[in-house]
């Protein structure tokens, strides 16, 4: 596709449910990022993939958060046993190379945990 695609656009979950958020990066982009954006804040780094390798997961807030990119293209961010503090917009971004190049962002998935 022409840009980064994320689905679902909105997700409402009951506390304790598991959720899976999908990201389709721009075709051919090596690097893929997940960010979490709370209301009124800037995006906070969660994790980074270079092709299928997860090279940095230092931003994942707990072991309930898990991300994968098994074939170096589509990525899934999974949150287990969701809690209210997980409510945020989850942004996916990709870039063609490894570094020193702009990120292209998707529109995000807005997660609301009730």
């Amino acid at each position: 596709g022409a840009g980064v695609s994320q689905s679902p656009r909105y997700k409402v979950a009951k506390r304790g449910q598991d959720v899976a958020l999908r990201c389709d990066p721009i075709s051919g982009h090596v690097s893929l990022f997940w960010y979490q954006q709370a209301l009124g804040q800037g995006p906070e780094f969660l994790t980074y993939f270079q092709n299928e390798a997860q090279l940095d997961k230092s931003g994942l807030p707990s072991d309930r958060f898990f991300a994968e990119r098994p074939e170096g293209s589509v990525s899934t961010l999974k949150i287990q046993r969701t809690q209210q503090e997980d409510s945020a917009v989850y942004l996916c971004a990709s870039r063609h190379t490894v570094q020193h190049e702009k990120l292209f962002f998707g529109s995000g998935t807005q997660l609301s945990v009730l």
Binding site: V4, S31, F33, Y35, G40, Q41, G42, P43, E44, F45, Y48, Q50, L55, D56, S58, G59, L91, A93, V98, Q99, H100, K102, L103, F104, F105, G106, S107, G108
Partner: protein, 115 residues
């Protein structure tokens, strides 16, 4: 820890005037900086970038200035239009060898345009 921050959380500008949005960064070794625009309900959109070997870069109606001496970035928008209303983020790419993969964002400045 290292951080990227902004001087002003909100900025109100008369339509047609120039806007200046400021940003301070703390990692003097960062070598790449980006400005993003984010409209409500959308992901951040690239505006302009600059590498640390430059002091100024111009785009269409936008200019980014980098002052490495005081670790300061600014985004200038000429002839501000209603469509420029958004939240603007500066972001930095840490230097090679130190979590170089991630791009770190500031908290943002909301730009509003008065008719």
């Amino acid at each position: 820890g290292e951080s990227v921050g902004l001087h002003l959380p909100t900025l109100s500008v008369q339509e047609g005037d120039n806007s200046i949005i400021n940003c301070a960064y703390s990692n003097s070794a960062s070598d790449y900086f980006i400005w993003y625009k984010q409209e409500s309900g959308k992901g951040p959109q690239f505006i302009i970038d600059i590498r640390s070997n430059m002091d100024k870069r111009q785009g269409q109606r936008v200019t980014v200035l980098l002052n490495k001496t005081v670790k300061h970035l600014s985004l200038q928008i000429a002839a501000t239009q209603p469509g420029d209303s958004a939240v603007y983020f500066c972001a930095e790419n840490p230097p090679p060898g130190s979590s170089a993969s991630k791009i770190i964002f500031g908290s943002g400045t909301r730009l509003s345009i008065r008719p």
